[in-house]
Amino acid sequence: MQKQLQAQIERLKQAGATYADVRWYPVEETSELVMWNGNLKNAAASRQSGLGIRVLYRGAWGFSASSDLSNLSALFDQALSNARIAAQRVSFPVRLAEKDAIQASFNSPNRIDPFGVPLTDKIAFMQTMDEKLNRPGVMQRICALTFVRKQIVFIDSEGSEIEKNIIEVFPEIQVMGVDPDGVSQVRKFSPSRMGTTRGWETVDMQMFSENADRIVRELNEVMAAESCPKEDRSVILLPGIMFLQTHETIGHALELDRILGYELAFAGGSFVTLDDFGKLRYGSPKLTARADATLTNSPGSFGYDDDGVPAQNNLLIDKGILVGAITGRQMVEEANAKARKQIFDGSSGANRATAFYRVPIERMTNINIDPGEDGTLDDIVRNTERGIILDGEKSWSIGSNREQFHFATEIGWLVDDGKVTRVVKNSTYRGETLKFYNSLSAVGDQSTWEVRYVDNCGKGQPNQIMQLGHGVPVCRFDNVRIGE
């Protein structure tokens, strides 16, 4: 098959294409199990295979995809035809940053292949969790297991050939109850990534059992609590919400295609401009953020991106100053040219597609905040005069240029004079991105740092859902409006 694909790429080059690549998925499998109030509501599996072809012709992209590989020539011709018409409307001819031709492979580290685990074992795990969650106060209980396995073969016209075999496991338990005011409250648990693997072995029964007890207890505490006050306080974000804060207001804001206006018709832009790199004070000096695709245990690590660029660990924000972005080969060339200076020294290896039938775009890898020197969570609480600890994402809404945001969380604990005083429900906070990060006053140490994952990040048209990670510590921000 690889030889046929290489021959087709060569044929397109002879027809005038300046670059072409193909992503062939021999197989992509998913398995989804959902147990809801003891009912196995969803026992589903899927399988797909196919290929997507990307062609550059006179500075414009064309793309075509199909699961029917019976006429490869027609598929490749369609991609070139799409590029030819796109070449009639070019404002900045696409150029690709230099990269090495690579022959390599990547296998995500797994000890136990989840697709080899019997369905009965998975259901037994879910039944155990369901029984643990079936406690007074709980109206709805959900246990969900999702498994993904994909094999991707990447070949391009520059001599690269890369094979990736990736397995992911996404487990979650959730409880919901209705409080005396008739308002639904929810508490969830999905494990942070630990160790160095990402297979079935990460679904640890003891850890889930302990956290099942915890989320039921906390749900009942929330349901008995008063509402979050509407006032300004310091917010102490646990990793269970800090990951999403980072995702929405650092990650998306620093995707270079957004900065260059390529998502303005739908997902939005960014308040960041090309002039800001190296100068903009994004946050306080306590803020250091990076895009690290080398973490072994996270879905934001994939060996090589869909441009064929190897995984990297790059600074985005260095002690509060903006220094980097999430980039692919096309955008760094355009950004450097438009800025008339060398901002980016090559692609950061973040161009990814969600499936064979979608085109690669800039996606987050693992967008992390470095741990700080402000101690443990207890230390931070002890040093907080008037604050609120927040955890668990409930809703999130961000301005179209990522300039402002509003989050609701599952639970809040008020802090007064260095002590946790009481739980509150309906907790929310909002802010303006730069003002918020410049109010960062404490960053927890390594003991507070966790790798959380996102399995449903949406972007692009046609829409693409991507999986990635965030390694974040506990962080405290001052003078934030809560309770709206």
């Binding site: 899927s46 793309f63 799409n82 308002v183 018709a265 809703s395 509003h406």
Partner: protein, 461 residues
């Protein structure tokens, strides 16, 4: 192609019966084209032809499904899918209710929403539409963006209970034309939905954009003070609000699970504004309707709200099975929502701007990144985008920076409604997430709601 699809489904049915497997088959085929524009260039020109087949096997109260992306030449692969689903269901856990398997009493074919000319538009035609829609409007700083998405969507179903099948084919086009300022970072938009090629009218798109550009190019934007405003929502914003209300309000299963802001006790009572009436109307072709649901139920106009009175919940079959409710013909990929037109005689933004007014009115055409803060209260939050205007009491118009609205849907569609426009428009709500599912809602062109809170106001874009 229709016959080949139906024949394939019949062969799969026969195979399942021969293996003594009780199964349902859901076939989805899309032939999609998308031309995407950004920075005044075609940033992506793509097509995809995908066939998805979902096979659900049943064994008493046990159920398991297997989905594959395949093509019609791979019958053996599809048969293997039947075997896999049959093996999965053996190991599944029984539900505590009996899942209903549809039994079609006749074969139902619906091709009424298909227009071959629209489905098969050429690359040149898509490009020509965009060129006409923005003719003369682009500058060094004002760049074109947006999408032209069109294609064919086929769904078909059969099962082992009956030899009959259902087959639906639609063609659709979803068009968004965006002009954005590269330095000032504002964007304005015009959107269209088409069911047939003759619906395509790029000149009307250009006219809408031109009106907004006149303001956005020449007026200095202002930061609005936070506080209470009378807001006129445009059709895209109304449709988005409607989608959220449909998602958490009217779904019987969501209500039973405690996620809805409506209750059974409210059926037959006035919950919303008397001016507000909403129907799920599968007779409206513009909504890409399903005239039968997946269970084979004939779908008729289903009133949800009449003059503010809540008429009842809709039920998916599986929720109806679980909670012992009567199914309502809503086991569909999307409803056909229609908000009745009101009494105010206003059709265009120019007419809205020219209307006399006794106080300042904030016009919000589009809500960006809405989310539900508190579903039980219908509380949502979202930011304005794509061409908001402050229509001043004195007749002048101010361009505002974006603002955030955090409010209950019960306020938006409740007694704070001042007026609803007579004119209705089609808002295309198709999502390109996963399988193509052409969806549109018929909404008023404008709706004024008084006394809504702006909780945040940007000091820039």
């Amino acid at each position: 192609m229709k016959e080949k699809i139906l024949q394939t489904l019949r062969e799969l049915r026969a195979y399942a019966i021969s293996k003594n497997v009780t199964a349902t088959f859901f076939y989805h085929e899309e032939d999609s084209y998308l031309m995407r524009f950004a920075n005044s260039a075609i940033s992506l020109n793509t097509n995809e032809h995908l066939i998805r087949l979902e096979i659900t096997a049943y064994e008493g109260r046990k159920r398991a499904s297997y989905e594959l992306i395949t093509h019609l030449g791979k019958l053996e692969e599809m048969k293997q899918g039947v075997d896999i689903a049959a093996e999965m269901v053996k190991h599944a856990q029984p539900l505590n209710y009996e899942p209903t398997i549809p039994q079609y009493t006749e074969t139902f074919i619906d091709e009424s929403a298909y227009d071959a000319e629209l489905a098969k538009l050429s690359n040149e035609e898509r490009l020509a539409y965009f060129n006409a829609a923005c003719d003369g409007l682009e500058t060094e700083d004002i760049k074109l963006g947006g999408i032209f998405s069109n294609g064919t969507n086929v769904t078909a179903q059969i099962n082992t209970r009956s030899e009959h099948a259902q087959y639906f084919v639609t063609s659709d086009a979803q068009i968004s034309v965006v002009l954005s300022h590269t330095k000032l970072k504002w964007e304005v938009i015009a959107e269209r939905s088409a069911q047939q090629k003759s619906d395509l009218n790029p000149k009307s798109v250009r006219s809408d954009l031109n009106f907004l550009l006149d303001r956005y190019q020449h007026d200095a934007p202002q930061q609005l003070p936070v506080g209470s405003y009378d807001i006129v929502f445009g059709s895209a914003a109304i449709a988005d609000l409607m989608n959220f209300m449909n998602y958490i309000g009217f779904n019987g299963g969501a209500m039973k699970r405690g996620y809805s802001f409506l209750s059974e006790a409210q059926i037959g009572t006035k919950v919303f504004s008397e001016q507000f009436s909403l129907t799920d109307d599968p007779t409206r072709r513009e909504t890409y309707p399903f005239r039968r649901d997946i269970m084979g139920m004939l779908r008729k106009p289903f009133p949800l709200v009449i003059n503010g009175v809540f008429k009842g919940f809709t039920w998916y079959q599986d929720d109806a099975d679980e909670f012992g409710a009567q199914p309502t013909g809503h086991t569909v990929m999307h409803k056909s929502l229609v908000i009745n037109g009101g009494t105010m005689d206003v059709s265009t933004l120019a007419e809205l701007a020219a209307m006399p007014r006794d106080k300042d009115i904030l016009y919000i055409p589009f809500l960006h990144y809405m989310n539900l803060v508190n579903p039980s209260r219908g509380l949502f939050t979202g930011s304005s985008r794509f061409g908001a205007l402050l229509l001043k009491k004195d007749g002048s118009i101010v361009v505002p920076y974006n603002v955030r609205v955090t409010q209950s849907l019960l306020d938006i569609f409740g007694d704070k409604v001042a007026w609803i426009s007579k004119t209705q428009v089609v808002s295309n709500q198709s999502s390109s997430y996963g399988a193509r599912n052409p969806t549109a809602i018929i909404v008023p062109a404008f709706m004024r709601v008084n006394g809504l809170e702006i909780s945040h106001s940007n000091s820039s874009y």
